[in-house]
């Protein structure tokens, strides 16, 4: 599934640009970022040298709640949580310990957590938020863009804010007109930084 509405790689060297188009696509695909990005424009000029990647992210996906990955079974005196996946087990346990105390939370095996004598109904437990995927999204995105950029470009500026991201990298000190360049690249997508 290719959910990106705008995907452009601009480069004065046509052959190099085509390779970077492929690299950008491969990296974003490998890091599961294709469905997160709404628009992306990459500009590379090896002569200056500069690498610019700007873009817009899709609306952030919803928060992860206990009910999303567990089956909550209320029984007499205890509530059994049966996990479908272990991905969010650690943050969930941390939250449950804090909320109900270590004495009331038991984990007999990898996929089961039992809460003893807690004053909560199953709906309440299901609604507890354990993780916010958008928090790590910025980090993942910047990491991926670092892989796309040529390795020698070690002077970097990374901004990820309000659903928009800017990544500028160069081998030399970044010049003052970088902001202007970023603005132009956003304008190509019909956006403002």
């Amino acid at each position: 599934m290719f959910a990106i509405e705008y995907f452009e790689v601009e480069c004065p060297e046509p052959a190099g640009g085509a390779y970077y188009n492929q690299i950008t696509n491969d990296v974003l695909l490998d890091h599961n970022l294709l469905k997160v990005i709404h628009k992306i424009h990459v500009y590379i000029d090896p002569e200056i040298p500069i690498f610019v990647a700007v873009g817009i992210l899709n609306k952030v996906t919803s928060l992860v709640r206990i009910g999303d990955f567990t089956n909550v079974n209320p029984q007499e005196g205890k509530i059994t949580l049966v996990l479908a996946s272990e991905t969010y087990l650690a943050p969930m346990l941390k939250i449950l310990w804090e909320k109900y105390g270590n004495d009331h939370v038991e984990q007999p095996d990898r996929f089961t957590v039992i809460l003893y004598n807690v004053k909560a109904d199953s709906k309440e437990i299901e609604d507890i938020v354990v993780a916010d995927p958008s928090e790590s999204l910025g980090k993942d995105l910047i990491y991926a863009l670092r892989l796309v950029a040529p390795e020698g470009f070690r002077v970097r500026r990374e901004i990820h804010d309000k659903g928009k991201f800017t990544f500028v990298a160069s081998e030399d000190t970044l010049t003052e007109d970088v902001d202007e360049l970023v603005r132009k690249k956003f304008a190509l997508m019909g956006e403002t930084p």
């Binding site: 390779y19 690299i23 090896p46 390795e151």
Partner: protein
């Protein structure tokens, strides 16, 4: 008797027959791999006897193929060991060349990446020069390759094959001073080479490397080595028992003009120099034994006929 590099691939059953045959014919086994029920022998055999080996190995379902990269050590110079350049395409090629008999080492300069900042230090240069050939894996941009090439090749005197993103003609145009071989269309990419077209590219690199090595072989043939590296390997194996305790996959690495012995130089240089090759001729008479810049290994550089007036 000209020895040619070949690969024998066959079942494990009765493969000792083939090993004995090769040794009786005056050939040398450079490497032996046992992979499950299969045996792969990389060896040098007399050209006129290849047909005989084919005939004898037929009932054993063995096949003999010529593989010009056997007995060569190739340096794959990747611009860095970061995920940007590894494992694709540098490792893809290194692995591919290994499968067809070459011994490949990855060499990566500490300051390889970048256009203005890339450079090669003396240790890296010396390590590259210990190989038979260097394959430089460059990136995708013409201007970068053009700019960094002079710095990356400075002091390297082994033949160099350049692979990079731009096509072959462009590489030929921008690379100055010229390299010995060029392969275009293999720059930086971040996916595995598994499509037919991509494997074809790897074959193209192998072809180019083979062509350059053939040239080097011809040049060596004009003033032959005093002793064949494969023979020297056999002698060291017999006379330096410590080599059998080395756990490295190739304790003795055969090169075109010498040998890498993976034993500490300080302890073993003298015993190696004193090895008696034939009728009182010692190894030191026909070769230089020098310390390698790779770990504390020993490099044996075989002298030419014109320098020793002896061929054994």
């Amino acid at each position: 008797m000209t020895l040619v590099p070949v690969t024998y691939r066959g079942g494990i059953h009765q493969h000792d027959l083939i090993i004995d045959l090769i040794e009786d014919l005056g050939g040398y086994i450079v490497q032996k791999h046992m992979i499950a029920q299969e045996v792969v022998l990389q060896c040098f055999v007399p050209r006129e006897d290849i047909e005989l080996i084919r005939q004898i190995s037929k009932p054993l379902f063995g096949e003999v193929t010529e593989s010009p990269l056997v007995g060569t050590e190739i340096a794959v110079v990747s611009m860095s060991l970061e995920i940007h350049h590894l494992p694709h395409p540098s490792c893809d090629f290194a692995e591919y060349a290994r499968r067809i008999g070459a011994k490949t080492n990855m060499v990566s300069p500490a300051r390889g990446p970048g256009k203005r900042i890339s450079t090669l230090n003396d240790e890296e240069r010396d390590v590259i020069n210990e190989h038979d050939i260097a394959v430089y894996a460059f990136g995708n941009f013409e201007s970068c390759i053009e700019h960094k090439w002079p710095a990356m090749r400075r002091g390297v005197d082994v033949p160099i094959v350049v692979m990079g993103g731009p096509d072959k003609e462009t590489l030929r145009r921008i690379i100055d001073p010229p390299a010995d071989g060029y392969v275009g269309g293999v720059g930086r990419f971040m996916r595995r080479t598994k499509e037919a077209e991509e494997i074809g590219k790897l074959d193209e690199i192998v072809e180019e490397v083979t062509r350059v090595l053939e040239k080097k072989r011809e040049q060596i043939a004009k003033d032959p080595l005093s002793v064949s590296p494969a023979r020297l390997m056999e002698v060291i194996r017999e006379q330096v028992p410590a080599i059998h305790d080395v756990t490295s996959p190739t304790p003795l690495t055969v090169q075109m003009e010498g040998l890498r012995v993976k034993l500490p130089y300080d302890t073993f240089a003298e015993p190696i120099r004193k090895i008696d090759l034939e009728d009182g001729i010692t190894l030191a008479d026909l070769a230089e034994v020098v310390p390698s810049r790779m770990r504390d290994y020993v490099i044996v550089k075989i002298l030419r006929f014109s320098e020793t007036n002896t061929v054994i």
